[in-house]
């Protein structure tokens, strides 16, 4: 089927049509024409303020499959991602059983073949996720693992991190670490601040991140390896990463959408949908994160999508599980809450081109002759978030009942349109 995108505002710094309005004709999955196009028989897509950009990539989503299909499945997770405008998703290995071997990687690859969203599995860095020994990273990479990570579980075994950084060098393994000192984080669940002083909830202080980031960067410098720090949440980490980048260490980092848009005041009402990892920090940390995004210290933004069934959230705050299922609304949330701090263009860059650079993926471009890997959206259209309209099987979404600005209209990938 041919598609004709009418009068679309193209946001793609790599395209000669960047920031221009134009028609785009897509034939057989390829961009056939850009300009004033009249094509009979093509399905026409138009919207008052139609924007198009290279397809978005989310780097930190959990689809809970296998093992926790009551929270989310691969097939439904793909639909949620598509609804959120993502043409690609990098999955966390935190399924049950966890993914720490070739067979786990192959399961994801086989189950997600030929879908409109490209799904990239990651494998556990440590065998059995135990944080003790290396997993078979090379074998997993051969089967399609894009990176290695113990997910939300931070590795505090410095010898293991050192070995992984050294061992992975030969085959260019990308290690993704959640930097947190477990002793300092203890089993706390909210930021330590004026807010925690009023709530009596157990704290997970920012110092736990600061210390672990410093340690990981020392190990990186020593090994001269390649490291990505996942879901950074505070200003000290941003500073440390900035210094490391100045020293030309092979380091990259990301921040999660909720940590960029909210501070820990949201916790004042004990709303468990704001119980996330890393915890929401104070306003100063949030601002430092946004500044880090702006100056490129933090490379990109992730959804940190973590579905949880209602029983895990509708309970006492300390019993509630961590996470928010917001892959569907990631763009709308950024566009609504960060539009004063970040331009639309840089928001888009941070969820499309920037993450692909870090993960070494081909960067789609809106140029004639290229395969169409495109996200369609309207940044001015309002969306009302309600439970019924959410695709995700889990409804732990802190935006239910809210109206956000910016709507994803669809994605085009592999010759398919999902809208």
């Amino acid at each position: 089927m041919d598609l004709l995108l009418k009068n679309a505002h193209i946001i793609d710094p790599n395209s000669p049509f960047h920031n221009k309005k134009s028609d785009i004709l897509i034939k057989n999955g390829k961009i056939a024409e850009i300009g004033k196009v009249n094509s009979k028989g093509a399905k026409i897509i138009e919207s008052k303020n139609l924007c198009v950009s290279p397809g978005w990539l989310d780097v930190h989503a959990n689809f809970c499959d296998p093992g926790n299909e009551h929270k989310e499945t691969l097939q439904n997770g793909i639909k949620s991602a598509a609804k959120g405008g993502f043409t690609g998703v990098i999955l966390s290995p935190a399924s049950n059983p966890i993914i720490d071997s070739k067979s786990g990687i192959e399961y994801i690859v086989n189950q997600t073949k030929n879908s409109v969203v490209d799904v990239y599995p990651t494998g556990h860095l440590s065998a059995k996720g135990a944080g003790k020994d290396l997993s078979e990273m090379f074998d997993m990479q051969q089967s399609g693992a894009i990176a290695f990570t113990d997910g939300k579980s931070s590795i505090n075994n410095t010898e293991l991190i050192k070995l992984a950084l050294l061992y992975g060098k030969k085959f260019n393994a990308l290690l993704v670490l959640n930097a947190e000192d477990k002793n300092l984080a203890a089993d706390g669940y909210i930021n330590e601040s004026k807010v925690s002083a009023q709530l009596g909830l157990k704290t997970r202080p920012i110092i736990a991140e600061d210390v672990a980031v410093a340690t990981n960067l020392s190990l990186l410098e020593y090994t001269e390896g390649r490291l990505h720090l996942n879901n950074i949440s505070g200003g000290r980490a941003v500073e440390l990463i900035k210094e490391a980048k100045k020293k030309k260490l092979n380091i990259s980092a990301d921040a999660a959408v909720l940590n960029l848009v909210f501070n820990d005041e949201e916790i004042m009402g004990f709303n468990s949908n704001f119980k996330v990892l890393p915890p929401l920090r104070d306003e100063q940390s949030r601002k430092a994160l946004v500044a880090g995004i702006k100056n490129g210290t933090i490379d990109f933004i992730t959804s940190n999508h973590e579905p949880q069934n209602i029983e895990n959230k509708l309970c006492e705050f300390d019993h509630a599980e961590f996470g928010a299922a917001i892959i569907e609304n990631t763009f709308s949330v950024l566009n609504t809450y960060l539009n004063k701090e970040l331009s639309l263009e840089s928001i888009i860059e941070k969820i499309s081109i920037a993450p692909r650079k870090v993960f070494g993926l081909e960067i789609p471009t809106i140029k004639v002759g290229e395969s169409a890997n495109i996200t369609l959206f309207d940044p001015s259209e309002k969306v009302v978030i309600n439970e019924k309209s959410l695709q995700s099987l889990s409804k732990n979404n802190p935006f239910i009942g809210k109206t956000l600005t910016g709507k994803v209209l669809g994605i085009i990938n592999h010759g398919k349109l999902s809208a």
Partner: protein, 309 residues
């Protein structure tokens, strides 16, 4: 003001100064009542109150129960530390099961901070927080401030020192909110490891030197060391704690000041304070207990008007 501005008593944080004053003036009346030969009034007749204690309690539970009996309420008691959770029943289900038996008001103690607020959002009943984790213990703070008011004439302008484990203490937090709202000055004293890093932002002073703190204060509220809440050793030994922060006759004499001594109970005698201090003229610990009943009567009486029947 004849009505509380809130429909539940979840924490002092949510109250206005006028609410606290209303509770105190109501408690004055009830204090008269409980000192009469006939101590019972019919104010809560035909109102059923469930006391749900998911965490151990002796005196708070007794105090609430007695307050309810004095008000002629019908009472059911449920004590089970974490048992419903162990059986897999959610808090909402447990409470709804009890409410299905036509209960109007729930007094709950729970080990989770925010549990009372959570309940108030999810079940149809008037909720009184009898302590939620390390968050709030509003009736304790009310009776503490009420006792200070009784002893010193007013709370405004008084210098109140809270000593001990501030980090794990719902009593400290509710006291801070309550005393600040009533215009008192508050100072905290205790081992640095047991004082939250950001507590100063609530407008309280922090002093680690116990003698200096004693010198400063009009009232010293000695908190109980909550060994049961500590999963780490925040100080090396009880002995060393007592050396630095235990209130003794000698320390009291040294400051040459008539300091009012309080304790929310139960006392670890010889730890927070020595027996001679606990039993001295300075101590209003037993007044606190008596006032507890009057204050809780006032709270439940005022909240009863919020019951939707």
């Amino acid at each position: 003001m004849e009505q509380l501005s809130v429909n539940h008593l979840l924490g002092i944080k949510d109250l206005k100064k006028e609410d606290i004053e209303l509770i105190f003036s109501t408690a004055d009346n009830f204090k008269d009542v409980i000192n009469r030969p006939i101590k019972k009034v019919p104010s809560l007749r035909d109102i059923t109150v469930a006391n749900l204690f998911f965490e151990n309690s002796t005196r708070t539970k007794l105090s609430f129960e007695l307050a309810q009996k004095r008000l002629s309420a019908d009472i059911i008691n449920f004590s089970a530390s974490g048992s419903s959770v162990k059986k897999g029943e959610t808090l909402i289900d447990t409470v709804n099961n009890i409410l299905a038996m036509k209960v109007d008001m729930v007094v709950m103690r729970h080990s989770s901070a925010g549990a009372a607020k959570f309940l108030s959002q999810n079940v149809k009943s008037v909720i009184v927080n009898a302590g939620d984790g390390a968050h709030e213990h509003p009736t304790q703070a009310l009776l503490d401030a009420y006792s200070i008011r009784e002893k010193l004439g007013s709370v405004k302008g008084k210098k109140v020192l809270i000593v001990g484990d501030i980090l794990h203490s719902r009593v400290a937090l509710s006291n801070i909110f309550c005393l600040k709202k009533l215009g008192a000055e508050v100072m905290l004293c205790g081992p640095t490891s047991l004082i939250p890093k950001f507590i100063g932002e609530l407008g309280v002073k922090v002093e680690h030197d116990f003698m200096k703190a004693l010198q400063w204060c009009d009232v010293a509220n000695m908190l109980r060391i909550q060994f049961e809440r500590m999963d780490t050793k925040f100080f090396p030994s009880t002995r060393e704690y007592v050396m630095q922060y235990g209130l003794t006759r000698e320390k009291l004499e040294k400051v040459k000041k008539n300091i009012v001594v309080m304790h929310p109970g139960p006392i670890n005698r010889g730890v927070e304070l020595t027996s001679d201090v606990a039993d001295s003229q300075n101590s209003i610990i037993l007044d606190q207990v008596e006032n507890g009943v009057a204050v809780r009567m006032a709270v439940m009486y005022l909240l009863a008007s919020k019951i939707k029947r």
